[in-house]
């Protein structure tokens, strides 16, 4: 009887129409299996094999989660799919007791969680990656890259399979062998890309890594020897961090437009909460309040689990703050207060749900107004130029407008182009008492390629005094074509709005 723990385990994926080994554990490797072997052959070699299906999506997610966790060491973490991570630890290592201690702490923590880790520190990212392919725990000082990677097999470079087999066939077994050849020969045979890779591995040049997240402008963080789990302690610490962040930003006259709070749980899970603001925030109380709103409104509340051991607050977007002198003008104060209120509401229910309105240059009623995010367009909205109403006229546009015009049933119209005498909307029949119209609104043919029909709008009042804005879609004779029997097509009527 075999259990998964003592049986060799492999992960298989379908490649070239056959199930092939995609990954395997040490036991399976010792049994003589290798990546790329068809499953049928593997079973023949090792009948007690435990087989799992590959799940690249879950793999990517796990890699991302690990990258999240690695954020605690450096803000610059780059993915190297399918299973690598680059950490740019420039200037970070001393915070963790030096490079050796940092490497041990990363490897130790990940190993404890059940991952097999191979890590290395080197001057260039490619060099470090090449080292990890062979052995874990190496730290290579600047200038010693060539010596370090020289004895390694060429496969450690991570180049294409075709290139590696080409090198082998040429008798170049180690990276040192390849490096000894003249560069132009290598380039002529294997391409410039491979030469660049080789040079980077030898430390003769460096390719930048592409971090997952842009480097925040300001970061403050607090580590806890004893994990914190209670809401109160978390709130107090967040306030303290907010003060530190504001102090740091204040020195350079900056204010935060986007704030991120990351909570690193002891079990490795990381939760990041983002708050956007409409204008630069320069007060710790404001940051405090925004996060309180956001945390209160979370659908899945912050779960401390066994506690957070690191809380980080970063300002990922900042702006220069123009210090305004407070005068007696109440307007400035009102605007500030309003912007703060909008930020608070947006933090709670989402920035897209708080809107201001901007007039648009179009005749189409449903597009005449653009609802824009209040956080970003408040200033534009307060200075928008709205079309003036005509004095002495009753309202010509309805107060309530349906986003999609609602169809109504019109039994007949006495004249084809005329208004209806009665209509049925939402199962209620309204008899028309007064009519004004039509107001003809043609669609924008230059945008719609002739699909939409011209509308004839009528302002009407029914027996109850309710006032509607209805329209007939399409013109007789012109747009509403007769059908095959020669009868004119019946127009469709809609109610588009309601007047007060």
């Amino acid at each position: 009887m075999s259990t998964p723990s003592d049986a060799p385990t492999v992960v298989v994926a379908k490649q070239n129409n056959a199930l092939q080994i995609y990954a395997l554990d040490d036991l399976a490797a010792r049994s003589g299996l290798e990546v790329g072997l068809p499953l049928a052959n593997a079973r023949a070699i090792c009948p007690e094999l435990t087989v799992f299906d590959a799940d690249p999506v879950a793999d990517a997610k796990t890699l991302n989660d690990i990258a999240d966790w690695c954020d605690r060491f450096t803000p610059l973490v780059a993915l190297d799919p399918p299973h690598g991570l680059y950490l740019d630890i420039t200037g970070c290592a001393h915070l963790f007791g030096g490079e050796r201690a940092l490497l041990q702490s990363v490897c130790g923590a990940l190993t404890r969680r059940g991952f097999v880790v191979s890590a290395a520190i080197a001057g260039t990212s490619v060099c470090a990656r090449t080292l990890t392919r062979h052995a874990s725990g190496k730290i290579i000082a600047d200038g010693e890259e060539a010596d370090a990677v020289g004895p390694l097999p060429v496969s450690a470079l991570g180049a294409d399979v075709a290139i590696i087999s080409g090198l082998r066939r040429a008798g170049l077994k180690t990276i040192g062998d390849v490096a000894a050849r003249a560069r132009h020969e290598i380039t002529a045979r294997f391409g410039a890309g491979f030469t660049t890779l080789l040079e980077h591995a030898l430390g003769q040049g460096d390719a930048p890594i592409s971090p997952r997240k842009p480097l925040p402008d300001y970061i403050v963080e607090k580590r806890f020897p004893e994990p914190v789990a209670t809401d109160h302690v978390i709130a107090v610490n967040l306030s303290a961090l907010a003060k530190m962040l504001v102090t740091a930003m204040d020195k350079q006259g900056k204010g935060a437009r986007r704030l991120e709070a990351s909570f690193f749980r002891t079990d490795g899970a990381v939760r990041t909460i983002t708050v956007d603001t409409g204008r630069p925030v320069t007060k710790p109380e404001m940051i405090d309040r925004l996060f309180r709103e956001r945390l209160d409104a979370l659908n899945d509340p912050l779960d401390p689990g066994f506690g957070f051991d690191l809380i980080r607050l970063s300002a990922s977007r900042t702006e220069i703050v123009v210090q305004q002198q407070r005068d007696l003008d109440a307007n400035v104060h009102d605007n500030d207060e309003l912007a703060a209120l909008i930020d608070r509401i947006a933090a709670r229910i989402g920035g897209k749900r708080v809107v201001v309105h901007l007039p648009q240059d179009t005749h189409i009623p449903e597009r005449a107004v653009l609802a824009a995010s209040a956080q970003h367009h408040l200033a534009a909205a307060t200075q928008a130029a709205w079309p003036m109403r005509i004095e002495g006229e009753p309202p010509l546009r309805p107060l309530r407008l349906f986003e999609k015009p609602e169809p109504i049933k019109v039994p007949f119209a006495s004249v084809p182009d005329g208004p209806p005498h009665q209509f049925t909307w939402r199962r209620v029949t309204h008899a028309v008492v007064r009519v004004e119209g039509p107001e003809r609104i043609a669609m924008e043919w230059w945008k719609q390629n002739g699909q939409a029909l011209t509308r004839d709008y009528f302002r009407i009042e029914d027996t109850q005094g309710l006032r509607f804005w209805i329209f007939r879609d399409g013109l007789y004779e012109g747009e509403l074509k007769s059908n095959d029997e020669g009868e004119p097509a019946l127009p469709k009527w809609f109610v588009h709005g309601l007047f007060a």
Partner: protein, 259 residues
């Protein structure tokens, strides 16, 4: 025993002070423009209080116009926050800025909050009411949600009193329930006055019933909103003094233009 009496006296004193605090803002009243209504309201609509406007489902637009008028009167060029539920927009249409312009109101100072549900709307309205930079907060609620009870109403009233911001509750498709509102209106659309067919008709006219007034009598008037002057007024044409259309349909026939 005397200790108990003194506690009672203390509590009474505290309640009196609270009540006095409530009345401090009551001095600020905004005239609506309709003489009789203003007289009934002792000078106009009180600021820093909650006012409710109820409407049946199909009268939503009239009630919206009425509450927009009230908001226009009380905000006096300060920002207005309009909180509405998603469902209300589906059911009775979105408040159109072009329509507000046509009513003579300024959409530049309007911030709309699109709350997903009643809970979010109520909470947002309470938050907004605490911000003293605003002129008014309109809370538009469809139907009769359980969350909008006496407690919620009291909360809104307290927030309004504390900040001096006027709260206007637009209750669409709802019937009046007990609340702590200062005034409660039931609004229906009123006919345009009978006139020659080529005359400009269709100025917003409301059959506004003041169903509750905490500090005075109630009443019912036909009000017309003057779009150019931005105030309510008596109907220009004095023929339909009382509200005929909703309850006496046989009289409504009189005004019908022979089709």
């Amino acid at each position: 025993m005397s200790a108990r009496m003194s506690t009672l006296a203390q509590l009474r004193g505290r309640i009196e002070r609270l009540e006095a605090g409530a009345d401090a803002h009551a001095l600020h009243r905004v005239a609506l423009g309709h003489a009789e209504a203003d007289a009934t309201l002792c000078g106009g609509l009180a600021r820093a209080a909650v006012h409710e406007v109820f409407a049946e489902g199909h009268q939503g637009a009239a009630a919206t116009g009425f509450i927009a008028g009230l908001a226009g009167r009380v905000t006096s060029r300060r920002p207005l926050v309009w909180v509405r539920q998603d469902f209300s927009e589906i059911e009775s249409g979105a408040v159109s800025m072009s329509g507000l312009v046509e009513l003579g109101l300024d959409p530049r100072r309007l911030v709309t909050v699109r709350a997903a549900d009643v809970d979010a709307a109520l909470r947002t309205a309470a938050d907004a009411l605490a911000c003293d930079a605003l002129g008014a907060v309109v809370l538009e609620v469809w139907g009769e949600p359980r969350q909008l009870d006496l407690v919620a109403s009291r909360k809104l009233t307290l927030a309004a009193q504390a900040s001096g911001v006027t709260a206007l509750l637009l209750r669409l498709a709802a019937v009046p329930q007990p609340s702590t509102a200062e005034t409660r209106w039931i609004v229906r659309a009123a006919h345009s006055p009978p006139s020659a067919p080529w005359h400009a008709w269709g100025a917003p006219r409301f059959d506004a019933e003041l169903a509750r007034n905490r500090h005075g009598p109630v009443g019912r008037w036909i009000m017309e909103w003057k779009c150019d002057a931005c105030l309510f007024s008596e109907p220009a044409n004095s023929q339909p003094l009382s509200a005929t259309p909703a309850h006496r349909p046989h009289q409504a026939q009189v005004f019908r233009r022979s089709a």
